[in-house]
Symmetry: C2
Subunit: 399 residues, 2 copies
DNA sequence: ATTCTTTGTTTCTCTTTACAACAAAGCTAG
DNA sequence: CTAGCTTTGTTGTAAAGAGAAACAAAGAAT
């Protein structure tokens, strides 16, 4: 029951080939999700005719998206020909910019990284721009024959439609036209996205089965700040001007140990970010810590895992506030899953009970059975998110 | 870039007639939104062929959804034949249950009410069930020749898919199978929805132009409790089990003057509902009020409009908390519009400044330019919502 | 060895849009 | 007032693509 917007009707009307586009996309996604799979099985499950599936499979093979990988076992008749995604061919170039490091990687259709390089992120915007362009151009040249597309994840506010970075709080960068620069330099198509949204997208397409199968979930990315990515009906929610999903700055009351990136002390981010956890740890040590600068969240989590009392307490206190925000999102959106991402999830066993306890307190008598789980994407979810921007578009539009 | 869910692929695949269904729906919505309009103009705007538009218009005329209303002015050639929705024919029956009154109405395709009856709502569930069924059956019988569909709005938790009322806090009704009862009794198709969601739907289809044209907005229904309805991408967001959009119960801290319907004092509803406003007014009077029971929100708003000091203060204080919740939703979802509905909006001029001030404080430097506006649906938005449930489905699927 | 199953392909029909030609109706201008 | 141009709406044909059925290929079962 979705409203039709007349302004964009031209893009929405169905032409004779629309029908093929839709079915092509469905077949491609079957191959992606259920491979190895035969034409006949796709036909059975989709209720398309075998002849139709065959025609679509032919065209997907020609465009190099899927391949045959031999015969399957007979179930009383002719053996099925099994299909899978064509892997090993570079199709996506991902740029993952985080406050500490920047990673550039090339991946195939399955999201497998074929080549990757990392360098530390510099606060100098011009230097970073040059460096990124230089490395991307080099890789683009190397893989010239495969027409790559680029995806980029940035920890800040992004206008996805215009392809502009509006604001990166950590470095105080504003109005960065990196997309246009890369596009004119390499001629490759580029998609940019906020880090929390990119991570959410990565979970949607490449994450745990429970997440991939949920139409509605919330991603909570705990890092320097606290970002939220909302997936609604299998789609990233962006709101106006791409600033949708900044629940990190909702008011939860109280007095946080640090200011948030917008300078407030009563919002969720101020209470629950890595910065807040570290500040709590410092306060517990009564300021007799020396190594002020090189103490980071990884060290804190490390200490907590090894049982250091103060570190455990700092993390647990932080997770209580994390729980309050999560419970707000649970009552407000009642998603199927809440996914928590970031370094703090390495100490998941220390914080999971607190999260559930707070959620139970505020959400009534098991009405909603939202699952809270840590990210399943390993240690570089934002990189997978950057690559996912390209891959998701390929699977969602089937060229 | 929307994910495809294979579980439901059967429903999603494009058949030869899918193409016609899609275009039919677009043409119908043009007639609804831009009437009077000619076939040629629809063809120009949609980029469909004139012949295609003609064929679709013919079928829509045959199914009785649109009619020709004569000739328009020539612009240098043959005069266009103008089309509009066929009005005056009953197509939707709406049931609007509120804590005080229950209204049953019959409306045409344009949402114009053709007949309406109201009776006071009783806390006796069996009595209400009988009464509603009796009245609906009577109307269904009267309009037997037009096959009506039914929409129902209920102030509580609803499982839309199963067609069950899970919980109505005001009367403490649980597991009410009203839909099934009506369906077996009348044989008519029925759609049920939570009141805030129904109101949001009504605004989306029949509200102010600014709301109709916004893909993302939030409806805040201030009544006994405080409900939120969220429209994402032109679609009502329901979350799991229909309990999506209960942001009324998010934690905002502090100590509210009353308990919310879930028994908490630190959530948004406890601070900002009509109940909270009335409690504030009572507190300001230092308990020297006599008419304990028949004092309701209408009286309070009335007093405030006429300048009664305490009433104004109670409303303004309530609206400050309303503002905090609104600002949370603004930073979290950055919707195009926030629509406030309920009796309190009759004193809009008294509260609008406070709402904007709070929103300005928490949302940074004009990044998001969300508009806050009162409902534009007159004094029975939930009734229009109930009717809208039927009409929206007709326009969204074009039978 | 014969029959039944399953897979994948081929052929024909049906739906629906696109395109082009045409008729209808009206304006304009010499 | 008639010829030419515009705009609207209709009609007829071609092309795209799914559905259905028949068929060939390949294997299992009896």
């Amino acid at each position: 029951m979705k409203r039709i917007y007349l302004q964009k009707a031209k893009a929405q009307i169905a032409r004779p080939n629309t029908i093929r586009d839709i079915n092509k996309q469905i077949v491609l996604n079957y191959v992606r999700d259920r491979s190895p799979i035969s034409r006949a099985e796709i036909a059975r499950e989709t209720e398309l005719q075998r002849s139709t599936v065959s025609a679509i499979v032919d065209s997907l093979q020609i465009s190099g998206m899927i391949i045959e990988i031999g015969m399957g076992d007979s179930t009383g008749g002719r053996k099925p020909t099994l299909l899978k995604l064509k892997t090993g061919t570079p199709v996506a170039l991902g740029i993952d910019l985080t406050p500490r490091t920047t990673t550039i990687a090339v991946a195939d259709l399955a999201g497998t990284v074929l080549e990757q390089e990392t360098f530390s992120t510099s606060p100098n915007l011009d230097f970073m721009t040059e460096r990124i362009i230089e490395r991307v151009s080099s890789l683009a040249e190397k893989y010239r024959e495969f027409d790559l597309e680029i995806g980029m994840s940035v920890p800040g506010l992004v206008d996805q439609a215009l392809g502009r970075v509006l604001y990166v709080p950590y470095f105080n960068w504003r109005d960065w036209d990196i997309c246009q620069r890369i596009e004119t330099e390499t001629g490759l198509k580029i998609t940019i996205e906020n880090d929390a949204n990119a991570t959410a997208l990565a979970e949607l397409w490449f994450g745990h089965e429970m997440i991939r199968k949920s139409r509605n979930f919330v991603m909570i990315l705990v890092s320097e700040g606290l970002g939220t990515g909302i997936v609604f009906d299998g789609q990233i929610y962006r709101g106006e001007k791409g600033s949708g999903g900044e629940f990190g700055h909702m008011t939860v009351g109280g007095e946080a140990p640090v200011e948030c990136s917008w300078g407030r002390r009563d919002c969720w981010e101020a209470h629950s970010s890595e910065k807040a956890a570290i500040a709590r740890y410092r306060n517990l040590l009564h300021e007799n810590d020396l190594k002020q600068n090189d103490f980071n969240i990884t060290s804190l989590v490390e200490l907590a895992i090894h049982g250091e009392e103060h570190a455990v307490r700092a993390l647990k206190e932080t997770s209580e506030y994390l729980g309050i925000g999560i419970s707000n999102l649970m009552v407000g959106l009642s998603p199927q899953v809440v996914v928590v991402s970031g370094n703090i999830t390495q100490a998941w066993h220390l914080i999971v009970d607190d999260l559930h306890r707070i959620a139970q307190q505020t959400v009534p008598h098991g009405l909603s059975q939202t699952i809270i789980m840590p990210s399943s994407l390993g240690d570089s979810p934002t990189l997978i998110g950057a690559l996912g921007l390209v891959l998701a578009r390929k699977f969602a539009s089937a060229s």
